[in-house]
């Protein structure tokens, strides 16, 4: 069943979109990542114009994250207090990120910088997570091994301490705020929710328990992507509602299954799976930059003509 998308101005198969939404939604529910870093390149691949893909994806992430958060709220695995602190940082970051994006656009190299951002961030985070999860799995297999004690590091020496009861933390608000700002900037530039940055940052930098991390990350993502959607809708007119609805109907259903699978897997297994996925996307993008392309030329719109 073909459907014509009014904003993207292309005709695509509705079931294909539904399926893509479902798969990405499942991953979203499992790992607490918005799935944007997977979905956005997939949409490019099926022929959706990049500007529309990025903006619509933000809108779709709002929905799949909302459904994921509901599932997590029920299990009380959302640290609302931490989420709010991250969110404040996130909104500041998103507003700043849009300015930065426009500056890069004026230099004419925005595509390359977005791709490089993807490769660098996905590579570092995927690699770190992969190594750490392997170690954790090995430790768990050794009989009699003691669980690692949480160490005090520089994070605990900062002022403005606050109690985060759900996470069992008493730390300064500065690190989560900074994580929020960084994620907000990335959300605006890369067209992603930023979960793939936030989840590891929460685990390794803030020392939050993995189970709480997923719900809290989804909570923050809803608002940051909602804000990004509004910015795209009002400045670039690139949010395609039918496309978003199709993706999210699949996505919402997928997210529910994902959340169910997520509770059955062990935290280390969850992390190693996410690490493998992040590395796969990273290497695909890196190959695009490194291998000789089949077509050396690309067509773009002149500024101000959509």
């Amino acid at each position: 069943m073909q459907i014509y998308l009014p904003i993207a101005e292309v005709s695509v198969n509705a079931f294909l979109l539904f399926g893509l939404g479902g798969i990405v939604g499942m991953l979203s529910g499992m790992f607490g990542v918005g799935g944007g870093f997977l979905m956005t390149p997939l949409l490019f691949f099926i022929g959706i114009p990049p500007a529309v893909a990025v903006a619509t994806e933000a809108n779709q992430i709002v929905a799949s994250s909302f459904s994921g958060v509901l599932a997590h709220l029920k299990r009380k695995t959302v640290d609302l207090r931490m989420g709010t602190v991250l969110l404040i940082g996130g909104l500041i970051g998103a507003a700043f990120g849009v300015q930065l994006f426009n500056f890069l656009k004026s230099l004419g190299q925005v595509d390359l910088l977005v791709k490089l951002c993807y490769v660098v961030f996905l590579g570092i985070i995927g690699g770190l997570m992969f190594i750490e999860s392997l170690r954790a799995i090995r430790r768990a297999k050794q009989p009699g091994a003691r669980p690692l004690r949480r160490k005090h590091n520089w994070v605990h020496a900062l002022p403005f301490k606050m109690k985060f009861r759900t996470s069992g933390l008493y730390i300064s608000v500065i690190p989560p705020m900074l994580v929020g700002v960084l994620v907000g900037i990335l959300a605006a530039i890369m067209g992603v929710g930023g979960g793939f940055i936030m989840v590891p940052a929460m685990i390794y930098l803030l020392g939050m328990p993995t189970k709480v991390v997923v719900g809290t990350s989804l909570f923050q993502i809803i608002f940051v992507t909602g804000f990004t959607t509004l910015l795209h809708a009002t400045t670039n007119f690139t949010v395609d509602l039918p496309l978003a609805v199709l993706l999210l109907v699949g996505g919402v259903i997928g997210a529910q299954f994902g959340a169910m699978i997520g509770t059955r897997l062990k935290a280390e297994q969850l992390r190693i799976l996410l690490a493998i996925m992040v590395l796969a996307v990273c290497s695909k993008l890196a190959l695009d930059l490194l291998l000789t392309p089949t077509e050396f030329y690309t067509i773009g719109a002149v500024e101000g003509h959509g």
């Binding site: 073909q2 014509y4 795209h232 030329y297 690309t298 773009g300």
Partner: protein, 251 residues
């Protein structure tokens, strides 16, 4: 005196011996939610007061052009081991869609000079004025536009696709792809004799979004804030609804 000059001037230009009378299968194209491309049938007749000239061969060319827009074409080059965009050339105007159907090989049906004047063939339909000084091979950028768009089915040259019967009737059909841009589609029909254009017929087919497609497009452009909020609300409602439905079925 002035009147005499006008009359003489009028007499000096003889009315075309042969004229195109044409029709289209559709006078507008509606893009609906399940739009999956369309076939445009173009047909017509050659009207003449005199007997059919025998000395020069007859030719018919049909050209359909979508709305034109300026473009930037960028070329990748390897720098520091990765492929990045380096040179860019701005193309002043390039149609979003262009199909040319002819009654025979392009170079036989129309002379190069006439092609240049009427901008009939695909390379002529793209207007590229100037590339920056340091770019030596500017035509390569125009060629790239033609190559990329031909691969996407947006630019097509259909040589011999116009059927002429009895030197009088002609018809052809042009397939419009699913990824059509809305706007005015200029349809031109050229009648040639020995490669010279003797008559030209021009009409425009509006390609419009209709129904829900049109409503959403207009809302997104005219009231972007409302559209943005609506998108988020619908997204959240669907998220919540599906979540509730899922819980209900689970028991």
């Amino acid at each position: 005196m002035l009147r005499l000059v006008l009359i003489l001037a009028f007499l000096a230009v003889p009315a075309a011996a042969e004229q195109v009378v044409a029709g289209l299968s559709q006078n507008r194209i509606a893009i609906t939610a399940n739009f999956d491309g369309s076939e445009l049938l173009i047909f017509g007749a050659i009207k003449r007061e005199e007997p059919i000239p025998q000395d020069t061969p007859l030719g018919v060319i049909v050209a359909v052009a979508g709305p034109s827009k300026p473009l930037v074409v960028r070329r990748k080059e390897r720098r520091f081991g990765i492929w990045i965009n380096t040179d860019a050339v701005e193309i002043d105007l390039a149609p979003s869609f262009y199909a040319v159907a002819t009654s025979g090989p392009m170079n036989e049906v129309v002379k190069d000079i006439e092609d240049l004047r009427h901008k009939i063939s695909i390379p002529r339909a793209i207007r590229s004025v100037g590339a920056p000084m340091h770019i030596q091979d500017a035509p390569a950028f125009t060629d790239a536009v033609i190559r990329i768009r031909s691969n996407n089915g947006l630019y097509t040259l259909l040589e011999g696709a116009v059927e002429i019967s009895e030197e009088t009737l002609f018809k052809t059909s042009i397939a419009l792809p699913a990824n059509l841009t809305a706007g005015g589609y200029k349809t031109r029909i050229f009648l040639t004799r020995g490669g010279r254009v003797v008559d030209e017929f021009e009409t425009e087919i509006p390609v419009q979004k209709v129904g829900l497609e049109r409503f959403l497009y207009n809302l997104a452009h005219e009231r972007p804030l409302i559209y943005g909020i609506l998108s988020i609300v619908i997204a959240i409602a669907a998220g919540w609804g599906a979540s509730a439905a899922f819980r209900y079925f689970k028991g």
